[in-house]
Every structure is written in structure tokens, then in C-alpha cells.
């Protein structure tokens, strides 16, 4: 006994697996509260300054935003595949799926960076003292919208970067890990990754699709 559990506290792997999953779900609940609080800030501002927010939202790039959503949903799909293959012991396929997931994460970040660059050029990025040159109506509250947009999108991006780093670290130490611990890690990072995906699923319509 003990060989297949990682924590000394458990004597049965099945029990440990249940504990792992539960812990990840609690962590996700905790993260949901974090994003929930910021969404609440957004919601209240949106109620107060609806027209300004709608007008400002039109300055975001809908094609790039949609493309990014597709990329992220695809990465979730490949993450689910990585888990499925791992479960079946098909470790080569699992590894490739994981790598694809991380790669898609990087693509997402690349597209996001391109969007940010465009927005900086257009002068609608009210951060770091960059001059804010917005030509729509009610620039004060449009600035508020862009501030929240940058805050929320960047917080999401930071979560995604964290996920990519963890996947990369897992792949580096892949060969030295036992199969059960590989599976344990894929399961944990998978839950996290899907959650980050869910966050974007909400952010996308909220930020990009206000009364288009």
C-alpha cells in the first residue's frame, strides 16, 4: 500500500482521487467568487452607463474576439481528449493533446496581444497614462468601460498563462512521473483549464456583444 497515493494521509488511491477532484472544485468555486466580484462591478457600471458601454463595446474587434472564443473552446476540447486518452493509457496521444492545449492557449494570448496593440494604436487603452483619444459619445464612461475591459481580460489572461506554465512544467517532468500521478495531474489541470474557458465564455458576450 501507499505506493500509489501521493499523500501519506490516504491509503486508497480512489479516495485520494475523490479528494483531489473535490479540492479542485472548491478552488474553482473560490476562483468563481473572484471573477464574480469583478463581474458585479461591471454589471453595476453597465446598468448605470448602458449607452456609453454599448457604444464603447463596438470599438472592440468582434472577429478577433469570436476567433479567440473558438480557439479557447478548441483548447478545452483537446484538454478533454488528453484526459480521455490518459484514462485509457494511451499516453502518446494524451501528451500530444496536452501540448496542443497549451499551444492553443498561446494562440489565444497572441490574438489577445494583437487586439491590445490595435486598441493602444486607436488610443482607447486608458492604462499606464496612454492618452485616451476616443471619438464616440460620452468618453468619460467609455473610458470606464475600457478600463474594466482591460482589467477583466487581463485577469483572465493571467489565469491562462498560469495554466500554460503548469502544463509546460508537467510535460517537462512527464517521463519521471508514474502513470497514476500523470493521470492525477491531467485531471487537476483539466478542471482548471475548463474553468478558465468558462470564464471566457461569459466574458465574451458581456464585453464584445453589448447591443451590437
Amino acid at each position: 500500500m501507499g505506493a500509489s497515493t501521493e499523500s501519506v494521509a490516504f491509503d486508497k488511491p480512489a479516495r485520494e482521487q475523490a479528494a483531489d477532484t473535490f479540492a479542485m472544485w472548491i478552488f474553482i468555486g473560490s476562483e468563481a467568487m473572484l471573477f464574480g466580484a469583478i463581474l458585479l462591478v461591471f454589471l453595476i457600471a453597465r446598468i448605470s452607463y448602458g449607452p456609453a458601454f454599448a457604444a464603447a463595446s463596438h470599438h472592440l474587434s468582434l472577429p478577433l474576439g469570436t476567433l479567440n472564443t473558438v480557439v479557447l473552446i478548441t483548447s478545452s476540447f483537446s484538454m478533454a481528449l488528453a484526459h480521455l486518452f490518459g484514462n485509457r493509457g494511451r499516453w502518446r496521444a494524451s501528451t500530444w493533446s496536452l501540448a496542443a492545449t497549451a499551444l492553443l492557449g498561446l494562440v489565444f494570448l497572441g490574438i489577445k496581444a494583437a487586439e491590445y496593440t490595435m486598441e493602444f494604436r486607436e488610443g482607447i487603452a486608458p492604462v499606464l497614462g496612454v492618452p485616451f483619444t476616443y471619438d464616440g459619445p460620452d468618453p468619460v464612461h467609455a473610458e470606464f468601460f475600457f478600463g474594466l475591459y482591460f482589467a477583466m481580460a487581463s485577469l483572465h489572461a493571467v489565469h491562462l498563462i498560469g495554466g500554460i506554465v503548469v502544463i509546460a512544467g508537467m510535460l517537462v517532468m512527464w517521463s519521471s512521473a508514474t502513470q497514476s500521478s500523470r493521470l492525477r495531474r491531467v485531471r487537476a489541470i483539466g478542471l482548471y483549464w475548463h474553468f478558465v474557458d468558462i470564464v471566457w465564455v461569459f466574458l465574451f458576450p458581456i464585453l464584445y456583444l453589448i447591443n451590437r
Binding site: S48, Y49, P51, A52, P137, D138, V140, H141
Partner: protein
């Protein structure tokens, strides 16, 4: 009797007595309960100390009737105190109609007050006894809190909105005025005195302050200087709502809703005119955000309110 040591704050407003009645009732109740529980614990501790010959038969580790009883009793008492406190609290929402309105502005680190006649005071506030006084509060910078312990009133002054506090001073005297919300380095220096004086003395005091411009007059001047009168005046070329009698009236908006033109609506309409557009008008008004500070906002609001009062009390205004 108290050797110069204060135990209670002075009661100097119309509500101080009723707040204190609740306070002392609650004090009596909590003291009684606290002493009862303490005595019970001490009694048990002595009676059932190890080695004592107390009777320990028939012990039980729970008693459902007892638990239900104290739960229900606690709930009932809590509800009574809640209701009492809430009923008194709701009086804050309903100031008397006939009231003297004084503008109070908090800034780091002083209170600035302006009487309706334009008299200005810093960290001092003179009010008449026996007349309702509404202090409309605004803040130039951070959150402050207007606190007069002798009146049992407190209200935060929040940047970006107007809040109100009202009281009727009942005893002439000089009472402490504090800023209760921490507001930065010299927070403890921000305050002074409220002087409650008999109405005649108050009138005399007002007279001695020198006749400055009234708040309304200042507001009217600003109304012209900012160009408001260009559109909202009678001879304007652009169509804009006539603001005569606007305050307190319902305004139909272009989204089929109706709002009451209160402090909040007027403030928002000046700073953020696109938010709620009066039905039938084009949204052409520019925002004055950043162009008027809180002091000027108070003047404008006073002027706009005076436009409502004028029809009915014209003779008084001329006088």
C-alpha cells in the same frame, strides 16, 4: 456628582431623547442578561466545583424544550429591538417640509458651510434652536462623515453624490462637530463646533456676517457663466428643457420611463447628460464633468431648486 468626568453626551436635539431611551432600555436589558449569565456561571462554578457535595444526579446533556425556549425568546427580543431601532432610523428619511437648508462641503481637512443667505463658515456651524435644519452634504475629495454627538446624527459625505442629514436643535449651546470617517493625515483635526442659538440670536448673527452673495445668486451667476442659460434660457436657439419648477417634478424620459427630478437626477444631468434624456429633446448637452467642482455644484443645485420655489414664494424672494 461625576467629578467632572463625562458619562453621557449632552442631549441637544429633538431626536436625542428618543435615541437615548432606546439606548438605555437596551443597556438595561443587556446589563441584566449579562449579569444573569455571569452570575449563573459563577454560581455553577462554585456549586459544582470538584469535590463539592452538590447533588449531581439527574444530569442531562440536552433539553429540547429549554433550547427551543431560549431560541424563540432571543428571536422575539431581537425583533423588538430591531423594530424600535428601525422605526427611529426611518425618521432620517422624512425631514420636515419647512426646513432651513444649509450646504455642507467636506474637504481634506475642513468642513465648509454655506447658509441660504450666502454666509460662509469654516469648521463652525450656527443653527437656530427649534427649527429643522437640513445639511446637504457633499465632498470634494474623499469620504468624510458629519457627526454631532449631542444631536445623535451622523452621515457620510461621499464624493460624487449629495447626502442629507437633518436635525432640530433643542438646547442652545456649543457642541462638538467631528469628522467620523477616516479621511487622511489630519482626520482628527477636521471638525469644530455647532452653535445652537435662539432664533432671534441666529437672525442677528446672520445679519452680522456681512451680506455676501446668496448661494442661489452665486448659482445663477454660474448658470450664466457656464453657458447653461444659452440653451435653457427663454430666448435660446437650441431647444432645451425649461428648468423653471423642475425640482421635485416628475420628468418623462425618452425611454418611456419617468424619474423625479431630485438632487441625484439634477447632478447626473449636469455631469452625465446622456444618461437620462428628457423625452422630446435631442441629446446635445455636453457633460460638465470636471468643469464644476463640488462647491459649484452646490450653488447650481441651490439655484435650480430656487426656480421651483420662486413662483410660490416670490414676494419673500423679493423681500
Amino acid at each position: 456628582m461625576s467629578f467632572g468626568i463625562p458619562f453621557t453626551p449632552p442631549e441637544a436635539s429633538s431626536i436625542a431623547g428618543s435615541v437615548d431611551l432606546l439606548f438605555y432600555t437596551l443597556l438595561a436589558f443587556t446589563a441584566l442578561l449579562g449579569v444573569f449569565l455571569t452570575s449563573l456561571v459563577i454560581f455553577y462554578a462554585v456549586k459544582y466545583r470538584a469535590g463539592s457535595s452538590a447533588d449531581r444526579t439527574g444530569e442531562r446533556a440536552r433539553s429540547l424544550p429549554l433550547e427551543v425556549t431560549w431560541t424563540v425568546a432571543s428571536l422575539l427580543i431581537a425583533f423588538v429591538i430591531f423594530g424600535w431601532g428601525a422605526a427611529l432610523f426611518m425618521r432620517r428619511e422624512h425631514p420636515p417640509l419647512e426646513a432651513l437648508e444649509i450646504a455642507g462641503l467636506g474637504k481634506q481637512w475642513m468642513w465648509e458651510f454655506r447658509h441660504p443667505g450666502g454666509q460662509r463658515e469654516i469648521n463652525e456651524l450656527h443653527v437656530p434652536v427649534g427649527k429643522a435644519v437640513i445639511v446637504s452634504l457633499a465632498s470634494q475629495d474623499v469620504i468624510h462623515s458629519f457627526f454631532v454627538p449631542a444631536f445623535r446624527v451622523k452621515q457620510d459625505a461621499v464624493p460624487g453624490r449629495t447626502t442629507h442629514v437633518w436635525f432640530i436643535a433643542s438646547e442652545p449651546g456649543r457642541y462638538r462637530l467631528f469628522c467620523a470617517q477616516y479621511c487622511g493625515t489630519q482626520h482628527s483635526e477636521m471638525g469644530g463646533f455647532v452653535t445652537a442659538m435662539p432664533p432671534e440670536a441666529y437672525a442677528a448673527w446672520l445679519g452680522n456676517q456681512g451680506q455676501g452673495e446668496t448661494l442661489v445668486a452665486d448659482g445663477e451667476k454660474l448658470f450664466g457663466a457656464l453657458g447653461c442659460s444659452g440653451c435653457h434660457g427663454n430666448s435660446s436657439k437650441v431647444r432645451a428643457p425649461d428648468l423653471t419648477g423642475i425640482f421635485g417634478r416628475p420628468v418623462a424620459l425618452d425611454n418611456q420611463q419617468t424619474v423625479i427630478a431630485d438632487d441625484r437626477y439634477l447632478r447626473d444631468s449636469i455631469l452625465n447628460p446622456k444618461k437620462e434624456i428628457a423625452a422630446g429633446y435631442e441629446p446635445v448637452m455636453p457633460s460638465f464633468d470636471g468643469l464644476v467642482d463640488e462647491g459649484e455644484m452646490q450653488m447650481l443645485l441651490a439655484y435650480l431648486k430656487s426656480l421651483s420655489a420662486r413662483d410660490t414664494t416670490k414676494s419673500e424672494a423679493i423681500h
